[in-house]
Amino acid sequence: MNKTLNNKAWFLVLPVLVLVAFSAVIPLMTVVNYSVQDTFGNNQFFWAGLEWFQEMLHEDRMWNALQRQLLFSAIILAIEVPLGVIVALNMPKSGIWSSFCLVVMSLPLLIPWNVVGTIWQIFGRVDIGLLGHTLAAMGIDYNYTQNVVDAWVTIIVMDVWHWTSLVALLAFAGLKSIPDAYYQAARIDQASRWKVFRYIELPKMSGVLMIAVLLRFMDSFMIYTEPFVVTGGGPGNATTLLSIDLVKMALGQFDLGPAAAFSLMYFLVILAISWVFYTVMTNLDKKGM
């Protein structure tokens, strides 16, 4: 039997294309245009060629921000993914407590980023914040506005508090999809708890965990609001992550050319890493994992 091919359905994606063009493609094209020009405002532009790219490539400021960003993403992934899995493994699988846990786990995800930042900014303050005050009362010298390690610990703990739930919920969904037959077979074989996790739960969760890693990596790599509200990029530049530095450059200093070159390189790194993740994910799917 011959299949009827009708490509008119492609027109159905037209609204999305128009929306993406307006919200992403045209602004991105404008950034490319800015990156090769200089401006002093008033919508007057002067050709600068590759000058901004060359300047940014030799700028310690960008490389330092990139290093901090990679470190931040690596730390939060190393904490959130295992922690999320542990939480999911310990959640009740059914009944009212399961629903209760799901609601509680979703709560941090519902809070807007700037509110999370404000909560932690106050929470960590030594004079009025519960955390800062308690630590001071215990004799621990903690001050996220002056101490680099304290600032880093604060923004990492904040991110873990905000986003571990996402990993846990995804891992929980992965665990719920495992048929009982697998566990019954494991019981017949007298498999240990570790072996059940290693050979049944982990492989079955690998798909959703990959999505969790991808989502958390991309989000943490583009993070702006929460650390900005808590530390403002300080003390010094200690928590100035890529997007904080970019905003400082583009809006604070109005260096549109260098900021455009910076953001294009930032975009390329994100694009490359997303592609690697996407390729790995789709290949895992094809292998049936």
Binding site: M29, V32, N33, V36, F45, Q54, L268
Partner: protein, 91 residues
């Protein structure tokens, strides 16, 4: 369109990319293909290979600019062409 601060070089850059996308779309319709596995051990179509080429070319150009300076940038394009040929042959 003045607010977008267009220049001829950036306009040509986007026109080339748009033309490449159009050509590859027509190729995909006229000559449907099955994905293949190359040196990266992943399944790729012509479109995937074009994406790998364009993304890699961006990094090649940046690396060239960072290491060699702006005077010899056209040579980076020559490297990109060799890279593109390699991607389409072996990936």
């Amino acid at each position: 369109m003045a607010w977008m601060a267009w220049t001829w070089p950036t306009a040509i850059f986007f026109m080339v990319i748009a033309a490449l996308l159009a050509i590859f779309t027509i190729l995909a319709i006229k000559f449907p293909e099955t994905p293949r596995r190359g040196v990266l051990r992943i399944e790729t179509t012509r479109g995937d290979r074009l994406f790998i080429t364009l993304l890699g070319s961006a990094f090649i150009n940046l690396a060239w600019l960072g290491i060699m300076g702006p005077g010899t940038q056209p040579w980076a394009l020559a490297v990109c062409l060799a890279y593109a040929a390699a991607v389409f042959r072996w990936v």
